[in-house]
């Protein structure tokens, strides 16, 4: 499993871990009020119930919790009623954040460069075909180290697993669903771009949160991206992928509406 789907049942919040992160980033949940120890305990409970340690998930969890701790300690210091600290802290915090943003910006530029390289290769295709039958037949009988056929059975076993049904009822009280918000955003996206605020006009906090979650989902799937010129400024959402875009999305939206 991914750490994103870890179910939490805390005083302040119940739902999956990644929704918690979203709400914190959106400042819908005050990180200062959240007992991070409870999050860690919930994860340990989950590990115990599972009976095995998935190292990749564990690493991801530690990174995320460390980030939350860092953020929280920063908030706590900045919140102290101390003029001097207030003067210094944002400075240092900014330096740290700046270092991270520079790192991210470097690789965003590198990504843009890769796009250029790819564009330069536009229209260059490679032949991909099986070798002639005669050549294949003549190949040596067996590699020295044959693969274990059980990897094939195990692969089929994995493919037979059905996903658990997605259920967000406990946090949405059935009024708003991720699917519905996705459909809503895709309908708006059909226009090409829109303002996030317009997508949630008059909505309650939970709907806003689920809508934001839906937007993250669209971003993850390469359907949408956004720009925000200033911190706390307006969020402009635009469509990303013409290929994945209009027709299918429209069909999904229509299906969800009906």
């Amino acid at each position: 499993m991914s750490i994103a789907t870890l179910e939490l049942d805390l005083d302040l919040f119940s739902g999956p871990f990644d929704l918690l992160l979203t709400l914190i980033l959106r400042e819908e949940i005050d990180l200062l009020e959240l007992e991070l120890a409870d999050v860690v305990l919930a994860y340990l409970d989950h590990l115990e119930a599972r009976g095995e340690l998935d190292l990749e998930t564990a690493t991801e969890f530690i990174v995320l919790v460390a980030a939350l701790l860092e953020l929280k300690s920063r908030l706590m210091i900045a919140g102290e009623d101390d003029e001097e600290l207030l003067d210094i802290e944002p400075d240092e915090a900014a330096e740290e954040l700046l270092a991270r943003m520079l790192d991210a910006s470097r690789f965003r530029s590198a990504a843009a460069y890769l796009h250029e390289l790819l564009a330069r290769e536009h229209g260059v295709r490679f032949r991909r075909a099986a070798p002639p039958a005669g050549v294949l037949r003549a190949l040596p009988a067996a590699p020295e180290d044959p693969l274990d056929p059980s990897i094939l059975g195990a692969a089929i076993g994995r493919l037979l697993v059905k996903p658990p049904p997605v259920n967000l009822r406990h946090i949405t009280i059935n009024r708003v669903s991720l699917a519905e918000r996705l459909a809503h955003l895709r309908t708006l996206l059909a226009r090409g771009r829109f303002n996030f605020e317009d997508a949630v006009t008059g909505a309650d906090r939970m709907t806003v949160a689920i809508t934001l979650f839906a937007l993250l989902e669209l971003y993850k799937r390469g359907e949408a991206a956004w720009e925000q010129a200033d911190n706390f400024g307006e969020i402009h959402v635009h469509t990303l992928h013409e290929e994945v875009g209009a027709p299918v999305s429209a069909a999904v939206a229509a299906g969800a509406a009906g």
Binding site: R127, A130, P140, I156, G157, L160, P165, L178, A179
Partner: protein, 207 residues
């Protein structure tokens, strides 16, 4: 699609010949005159002239690649004179590993053969194109005709049994050992398709 520039280009026999050459190079199946015409938007006489030009360029003995006219159309193939070298090339030892995507695709072909590419995609929930092509290139799967809907069908290839040290397909391990819900009665194919579709739905986006 067919803007004036393309149309104009199609008039130049040398340029049309280059385009046809590229198409024949890329396609692993023979291309009919009709398919070439649709792709190049050229008139039939121009196309025939281009093919004549290519036939000259690929005259026997000139190249390591031959232009052949088969029942199904035109195709490029390696010169048989290079077969010894080709055999040496393909028998060079290579790491006998499979990526997870390749293992899944190969398992689907092994247990369900013949199986179509769209079926593999439905079961896996993601496109299997890259994995399937690599398996084809390694001779682990091969084409086995077309389904009634025209999709390419796959079965395991000559290298499959060799890679796993099996004598026959009967030696494939029984899936029951890894079955998460052995109580289900329906056929393996049905169950795989249902599970794949359920996974595709749980992720809300179209693929």
């Amino acid at each position: 699609m067919s803007d004036p520039a393309t149309e104009g280009a199609a008039e130049d026999p040398a340029e049309l010949a280059r385009t046809v050459e590229a198409l024949l190079f890329l396609s692993s199946d023979p291309l009919s005159l009709r398919e070439l015409q649709d792709a190049t938007c050229a008139e039939e006489p121009a196309l025939i002239a281009a093919l004549a030009l290519l036939t000259e360029q690929y005259a026997p003995g000139l190249r390591g690649i031959q232009l052949r006219e088969l029942a199904g159309g035109y195709t490029l193939a390696s010169d048989p004179g290079a077969e010894d070298a080709a055999r040496r090339l393909f028998s060079r030892p290579r790491a006998a590993t499979l990526t997870p995507a390749q293992a899944e695709t190969l398992a689907i072909v092994a247990y369900l053969q013949p199986v179509s590419r769209p079926e593999i995609t439905r079961i896996r929930g993601v496109s299997a194109d890259s994995a399937a092509t690599t398996l084809l290139e390694r001779g682990l799967i091969e084409e086995a005709g077309r389904s009634q809907f025209g999709a390419v069908l796959y079965r395991t290839g000559t290298q499959f049994l060799k890679l796993f040290g099996l004598r026959s397909l009967d030696e494939l391990p029984d899936v029951a050992r890894w079955d998460p819900t052995p109580e289900e009665q329906s056929q393996l194919r049905e169950r795989l398709l249902r599970a794949g579709e359920a996974r595709a739905e749980s992720g809300p986006a179209p693929q």
